[in-house]
Amino acid sequence: MKLCIRNGRIIDPSQDLDAIRDLFIEDEKVVAIGDAPVGFVADEDVDATGLWVLPGLVDLGVSLREPGYSQKGSIASETRAAASGGVTTVVCSPDTSPIVDTPAVAALIQDKALAAGQANVFPLGALTQGLSGKALSNMVALTDAGCVALSNQRHAMDSTKVLSRALEYAATHDLLVVFHSDEKSLSDGGCAHEGVISMTHGLAGIPDIAETVALARDLILVERTGVKAHFARLSSAKSIEMITQARLSGMDVTADIALHNLLLTDQVLSEFNGQYHVLPPLRSEEDRLALLEGISNGVITAICSDHQPHEKMAKIAPFSATEPGMANIEVLLPLAMKLVHGGELDLKTLLTCLTVGPANSFGIDAGSLSVGNFADFCLFDSGLSWLWTQGNKKTKGHNSPYLGDEIVGKVQATYLSGKKVY
Amino acid sequence: MNLDIDATLQKMANELSEYCQTKAIVDPIVVGIHSGGVWVAEKLLDNLRTKESLATLDITFYRDDFSRMGLHPKVKQTTLPSTEGKHIILVDDVLMSGRTIRAAMNEIFDFGRPASISLAILYDLDQAELPIKADVTGETIHLSENQRIKLFGPAPLTVSLVDAY
């Protein structure tokens, strides 16, 4: 099968490319950009005039909700949502039911993802059994079963001792650990950024120090154990400063930020709309600007959707009683483009953080259209305006403050290993 | 149409005295309904030789159309002594639908059970929507569809007809 994508604007930060070129694909892989290889006769020609041709997006923060939470989403529904958003590589969270702490669950997820055939799915394994923070999981077995990294997510570790042992063990086998730094005793019971808005609206606060106190501890342990570390969903200005310092001191740590923390601040909470209830919380404008700065200067190399679909009822409650999370994966790219339109990020930096940046931080071979790579890509109409509604959404989740909004920019087609999946 | 309010008030005062004599009403409480009724009642009080001072009633809280019209927040004070066993002469400037009088009677009953209630009206527009009739009427006038009657007071007390579209 030979495919030619003609005349599109190929933007691929991994090879510093932004030009109108033809893309040639043969047997799942990119074989040439620009001039056709000798003797190449396309079975199918796609005219991409006026469209952007981008490497398939790599999303490090996705809850597929399967197994266990079929009312919220399934591997089929959420990878379909991913494909419709141009996301071809998904790292999914271990907090399913049962939890991803056995090779069987990891295998089940990958089998179902393969059957759905919408996106490449890499599960995260639980760092401790049952995410309980007490006993170590079978980390090597999980990794052998396809887990790309290990994480306890926001579930607290029983003690710093267990955490430090878990890191030592992971370091022994050169495994990547993903941290969601959070000091439970400071964040427990909170539902909004501790600041003027939470104070004046009487919402229990989560101070930024809940993140930074834990991050300081985690960085010290990473330095001591030498474990490979990625810090997920950073939300506060001080965290960026700490990651910057760590990297300056020679530590090879990476980090990502959820897109909503770059777009929104706690100001949106004044109407108690539970759609804005996320963890870590939307913080101050000062924090938001610092997060953007961290991306602009290259300290942070990944932006994710932090896709957490919920059934309708999960958000129909007073603010603090709603379940946290948004389900934005299918509009990840157009929403992220708001940052470019608003002059807050340049296009190349943004696309880096959605493609090769996250792929590299997890050591996944994706996010690039260099010759020889798998042909995962999407065709994006950057100017098309459309309504995203309950009627045309692909995710099973009902929870996004952007549902009902006019969205600028639409993924027109997504290809996985050269095969059109959307 | 020319309205001589002073002459009408005089005529009304005389008729009211007569009425009280006929009905053997002694020391009645004269109750004016805010605002025009209070002005009219003040004028009538001198002629009535009652020991009671003027009482006033604001019927805002008793209107049957409050939820459609909204409330005027500065409700004037209702100054009504106990009405238990007393004769009441209720005074208003204009009798139109009769709804104001019904509301006023409801309110009066919340202050006690009066011996009797009589109604004195300066201008009866003959448009009653309820079985309510004045015992003493200054003048009965018929307005055309777009005419409204308006009282200005308290001193001087004047009346005019205005066109309302």
Partner: protein, 341 residues
């Protein structure tokens, strides 16, 4: 980046109250209207039947997810004095299925064709949630939601201040105690600011008066003397005993020693200062008995004013609700005429 929308949920298209959820977004005209109307209801005191027929035929449901006999009783009395039929419901919420049980309860009550819900709930924003998710024909009155707002309590305090001080201009008001957990204080800050007092001081230790509150324009004082100096009004807040468990305070006795209102600390304020307290009072914790029962205390007047304010708010919201329903109906009939043409 995104600006919040104006707080339009509680007003109808004419700008009249149709719910009463929070004092945020209500201007001086509406607050003054509430106070004027409440004052009119206070004047009804000498009637032998203390009742007006404004809400006759309407059904008011007191929906209390948090138990509070005092507040519920004053709302019940206010509704009954407006001639409404009143149903009291105390609903214990289980922590696990809060959201669902709340929505279920509401849907059941809607079927009873109620006209007004008076809501007390432990979650901040609960009254907003109910106003948004309920049938549009029910007026929602917030009787306290979490730490967020207690607007009728704040308005009765405003009425008490106005009746004793004649107005708000030039006044210095100190609010003392547990601001952090107080929905009353949050509503008072909005009301006092909108009504135009000269200065609001928030007095207490940093654990109970976080610096974030300075963004409201209030002055934060950590010492009682600085906080009470030359004030016209002192509001003492109730100190909940469970605060000691959260490591926010060492003990009641230490709090009393530093922030308790005594005859001595009263002397720092203006000679004609009035002392308020939303009740119930912890004598010897926030306030000495001498002060609570003394000549400056207006705590009992607050209770009387509370009924009048609640009558005012309930009748205004019901009126605004009915009017917005009627304008919707007339709009609907306009549309039908339009279709015929």
């Amino acid at each position: 980046m995104t600006q919040s929308e104006p707080r339009a949920l509680q007003l109808n298209e004419k700008g009249q109250l149709k719910h009463f959820l929070s004092l945020e977004g209500l201007d001086k005209t509406i607050l003054t209207e509430i106070l004027d109307l409440a004052e009119s209801f206070l004047n009804m005191g000498e009637q032998s039947v203390k009742k007006v027929p404004l809400l006759r035929g309407k059904t008011v449901v007191n929906l209390f997810f948090e138990n509070s006999t005092r507040t519920r009783t004053t709302f019940e009395l206010a509704a009954k004095r407006l001639s409404a039929d009143v149903i009291n419901l105390n609903i214990e919420t289980s922590a696990t299925s809060k959201g669902e049980s709340l929505l279920d309860t509401l849907q059941n009550l809607e079927a009873m064709q109620s006209d007004m819900f008076v809501v007390r709930h432990g979650d901040s924003g609960a009254a907003h949630f109910i106003a948004e998710h309920c049938t549009p024909n029910v007026a929602i009155i917030n009787a306290g939601d979490g730490r967020h707002a207690h607007p009728t309590q704040a308005m009765l305090d405003m009425l008490t201040i106005r009746r004793h001080k004649g107005g708000f201009e030039g006044l210095k008001v100190a609010i003392v105690g547990d601001i952090l957990h107080s929905r009353v204080a949050r509503s008072q800050i909005h009301a006092l600011t909108t009504l135009g007092v000269e200065e609001i001081r928030l007095v207490g230790p940093k654990t109970l008066v976080p610096n974030y509150f300075s963004e409201t324009g209030a002055v934060i004082c950590h010492e009682l003397q600085a906080g009470l100096q030359d004030v016209d009004v002192i509001v003492m807040l109730r100190l909940q005993k469970e605060r000691m468990h959260g490591a926010l305070l060492p003990s009641e006795s230490e709090f009393y020693r530093l922030y308790g209102l005594t005859m001595e600390s009263m002397s720092w304020a203006k000679p004609d200062v009035v002392v308020m307290h939303p009740g119930p009072i912890n004598r010897g914790v926030e306030i000495s008995s001498e002060v609570a029962d003394g000549e400056h205390s207006v705590i009992l007047n607050q209770v009387t004013n509370g009924i009048a304010v609640r009558m005012a708010v309930m009748s205004m919201a019901m009126s605004g609700q009915v009017q917005s329903q009627e304008s919707e109906r007339s709009m609907a009939s306009d549309t039908m005429v339009g279709e015929k043409v």
